[in-house]
Amino acid sequence: MGALSGSNASVVLPSVNGAKLALKQWSADNDDCEISLEEFDTEGDPAKATPAATKMATDETFIGVMGGAFSGETRATKATFDDAGLTMISQSATATDLTTEEPAAVFHRVIGYDEVQGAAIGRYLRDVAGAKKVFVVDDSTTYGEPLATKVKDELGDLVVDSDKTQEGQTEFSAVVSKIESAKPDAVFYAGYAAEAGPFLKQLRDAGVTATFVGGDGLYGADFPKAAGDAAEGAIVTCPCLPADKAEGTFGADYEAEFGEAPGAYAAEGFDVMTIFLAGIKDGARDRKAMEEFVDGYTGKGLTKDYAFDDKGDVAEENVVIWSYKVTDGTLTAEQEIPKA
């Protein structure tokens, strides 16, 4: 379940492909058992995710859900899944509060959450980029705001100023003027690609050359496309492992199957599917058995070692956060952000 169409779909589609690949490889080895993967498009909109969730919850043939892909839709639907006892494993919903506030027993995720990512972005800006003055902008969403706060906490006095934008905004002259007069070395934007594209373009048009850093909301092909030439050199962080760093033949298999290099969260999608498939192999045929299996799962995935804690998160020391740089219009892995 996730945004399979819309402005931010490029963050979601590769993970679905990753899951498809895992299913295909597994089915080849286990042809006595047929498992189907059904896709539910939410466009990333919590209002559209709710009916989809109800449909899945009431259909007993579903025993596991990969998703929600975004934090907002996950927040809106986890109670529905919880009531139905339907296990969710998210490949990319990173809001911290998903596992801390009103925790749902059925919710798990295979990536680090925003607080871990925020701290890592702070360390990147200070230690790797060597920024002395940072301007922080967030998009006022439940994703952007907490991420920006965490980055500000980590950077402390290095933050010269901050500002907020809103979803759907296309005109950023006021923020750009503020940034122009603050003269920072780096600008951090916590938000999604649809706004970051025009924002970065207008920032560069105004002659601001500061390093532009964004969180995993910008990870995917949409951001460099929306920002065009202005995206060159921009840094995007993501708690996802570059696919070519994944173990085994994943990168090559994916490319052979879908004709493109694995994108955002592709390896994570593969891992989510692998966990569910391991559960089915282990004999989990209904929701209760699946939930017990996932809660007790330990194993090595493509991207990291998995073992979910009682909140459904993976251990912080196993989370890897990478920085990616836009070169010639595509995101290329730069380095793993050093752990604290």
Binding site: S5, G6, S7, A9, S10, E43, S140, D163, K164, T165, Q166, G168, Q169, T170, E171, F172, S173, A174, V175, S177, K178, S181, A193, A194, G197, P198, K201, Q202, D205, A206, G207, D222, K225, A226, A227, G228, D229
Partner: protein, 321 residues
């Protein structure tokens, strides 16, 4: 509250606000013209603007024009794109009138039906670009943000110390004002314009005097659509993007601008649009961008409390000199 930033760079913020407002004003003209003549709020007008932005993208794509193209191609592509945007927007407005509104008028439908129809037309157009065209033609149609090549680089033309004004800002504001003066002259000075004013003032008497009402209504939709087309080319030159639902927010703001200035009044649209743009940029600076809509509507309410018909009043019919 960031008074120092606002006051320190007041010139720059004003220039930004006028640029933003000029686009609102151009789109607002479409609302005002149609309202002035038909007393109808044409909610499909925001999509008339959206279609214009796609026409610009289409021309650039067909000509293969990009930022690196030669001067000749840039001039040709920009001129053709402007023409295509105007034609596309005006035809969209005209089609909406012919297909949706005219049959309703013939049947003397109550105003509420027109309103619902307008919202329906708007949804149809949005879904055409967001979904249907994608099914048939594939990308760039769809729900994703689309980047439009930036043919002309943004450069600072006027550097007045703390205020730097870019070529884009000058093009947008000058373009918008020229178009509005032309429209104002057309409505006030020409024979066809006199027909528009006559129908706005009193449709029945105008018909008795030999004014063809249907032709005037078509003319009004074409004029409003053409202005939205001009807004579309100026917008895409400045921001280099489009999207299937890009019209929505601009449409709401332009409608607000029309009401602010006095809906039905052409000069009101200009005043309302520019004022709204400046207020938004000031409030974005003073608070932050997520306050701009709040401030914009507070200003609208305050103005309407003291001047219920808007700053300049509603009077396309009575507009003189």
């Amino acid at each position: 509250m960031d008074f120092s930033s606002l006051i320190d760079q007041i010139g720059e913020h004003t220039a930004n606000g006028l640029t933003k407002g000029a686009i609102y004003a151009l789109v607002a003209l479409g609302y005002t013209l149609v309202y002035g003549v038909l007393r109808l709020i044409n909610f499909a007008h925001s999509e008339v603007f959206m279609v214009g932005t796609w026409a610009v993208l289409g021309v650039y794509t067909v000509l293969g024009a990009t930022g690196g193209s030669g001067v000749g191609l840039v001039i040709l592509a920009t001129a053709l794109a402007a023409l295509a945007a105007v034609v596309a927007s005006a035809s969209t407005a005209l089609i909406v009138e012919r297909v949706a509104y005219r049959p309703l008028r013939k049947k003397n439908a109550p105003p509420l039906i027109f309103l619902i129809t307008a919202i329906g037309c708007s949804l149809v157009l949005v879904e055409l670009f967001g979904h249907v065209f994608r099914v048939f033609f594939g990308p760039p149609f769809g729900r994703a943000l689309v980047s439009i090549p930036s043919l002309i680089d943004t450069e600072v033309w006027l550097d007045l110390g703390k205020t730097s004004i870019t070529n884009m800002q000058i093009i947008v504001v000058v373009g918008a004002v020229v178009m509005m003066v032309a429209l104002d002259t057309f409505v006030n000075k020409t024979r066809l314009g006199r027909g528009v004013r006559a129908v706005a003032q009193d449709p029945d008497t105008a018909a008795l005097m030999g004014v063809n009402q249907d032709r005037v209504i078509m003319l009004v939709f074409i004029l409003g659509g053409a202005m939205a087309g001009v807004a579309a080319i100026l917008y895409t030159m400045n921001y280099d993007i489009t999207k299937f639902d890009i019209g929505f927010l601009i449409g709401v703001k332009a409608f607000t601008a029309a009401v602010l200035g006095g809906i039905g009044n052409l000069r009101g649209a200009l005043v309302g649009g520019l004022l709204l743009g400046v207020v938004e940029v000031y409030s974005s600076t003073l608070f932050s961008s997520n306050w701009e809509d709040v401030t914009a509507f507070v200003v609208l309410i305050l103005v309407l409390m003291f001047r219920p018909t808007g700053i300049l009043g509603e009077s396309l019919g009575k507009a003189r000199a």
